[in-house]
């Protein structure tokens, strides 16, 4: 993942939300999430986000199935 990448939150209360990666600090990342007209900075564990690129392998099986579902939903 690189700064500026779109990332998908795969765990936690914002699961399924897309945000922009702003900073990586060890095991934590900060992402910018759009809430209406506002942007909110969210600090979260690095393994609770995944890059929105097809090459990225997710950490768990459930993440893979969730991402596939989200992608298929958004394709329709």
């Amino acid at each position: 993942m690189q700064i500026g990448d779109s990332v998908l939150m795969t765990e936690g209360p914002f699961v399924g939300r897309i945000a922009r990666l702003a900073l990586i600090t060890g095991q934590r990342v900060i992402v910018g999430m759009q809430v209406g007209v506002h942007q909110v900075d969210v600090e979260i564990d690095v393994d609770w986000v995944t890059a929105m690129t097809p090459q990225r392998k997710s950490a768990t099986r459930i993440n893979e199935s969730a991402i596939q579902l989200l992608r298929s939903d958004r394709a329709h």
């Binding site: 936690g12 209360p13 399924g16 809430v35 909110v40 900075d41 600090e43």
Partner: protein
């Protein structure tokens, strides 16, 4: 991006959260989540977080500085269903009470085994607990196989957004038209 970390919304898996926050929620378990949000951020994101309270337990505590700590327990969603479905197995008394409640409730599901030969199909739930799901299947599934089940949850968020339970686990019982899985991982996803 806010330089001051107090202006960020901070999210942790419960077991990784600061101890002083964990102590506020003695019912918290390792896989639950905790969120800390300053007052200004909580006004923006609070409603969407509290909306999960229709699906699984969510609690919030306002701290002396005006910030808010929220706790959520997605794994306890099955226990929250007790008011909608028929409880078919009463939870035992004691520490494991929350983990054992089993509720009869019929919701559409899709399933797919994760090992070869892969089997996929649709059906509906028969009953659900925090540790397992019993469901109808289109064929005899291989007992012992890893399986993923997506279940349309009977309760949506406050604004009508439907949610779906995604569960990964192991088939512990298989009959020609029904199967039961033990859950290893779960998560809820908004389906719109």
């Amino acid at each position: 991006m806010a330089e001051d970390s107090s202006q960020r919304v901070r999210i942790w898996q419960f077991r990784r959260a600061p101890e002083e926050y964990k102590l506020l929620f003695p019912e918290g378990k390792d896989h639950d989540w905790l969120v800390h949000a300053a007052d200004s951020e909580f006004r923006l994101i609070g409603p969407s977080l509290l909306a999960w309270g229709r699906v699984h337990p969510v609690k919030s505590i306002t701290l002396a500085d005006g910030s808010t700590i929220l706790w959520g327990a997605p794994r306890e969603a099955a226990a929250s269903l007790a008011k909608l479905g028929q409880i078919i197995e009463k939870p035992p008394s004691g520490a494991e009470r929350r983990a054992a409640a089993r509720v009869r409730i019929e919701c559409p599901i899709k399933y797919q085994t994760l090992s070869e030969p892969k089997r996929a199909g649709e059906g509906h739930s028969i009953d659900i607990s925090t540790s397992g799901i019993c469901f109808t299947s289109e064929s005899l599934l291989p007992a012992g196989a890893k399986i993923t089940v997506c279940m349309r949850w009977p309760v949506g968020l406050e604004d009508g957004v439907p949610v779906e339970l995604h569960a990964v686990g192991t088939l512990v019982r298989a009959e020609p038209m029904r199967a039961a899985m033990e859950i290893d991982e779960t998560k809820f996803l908004m389906t719109t």
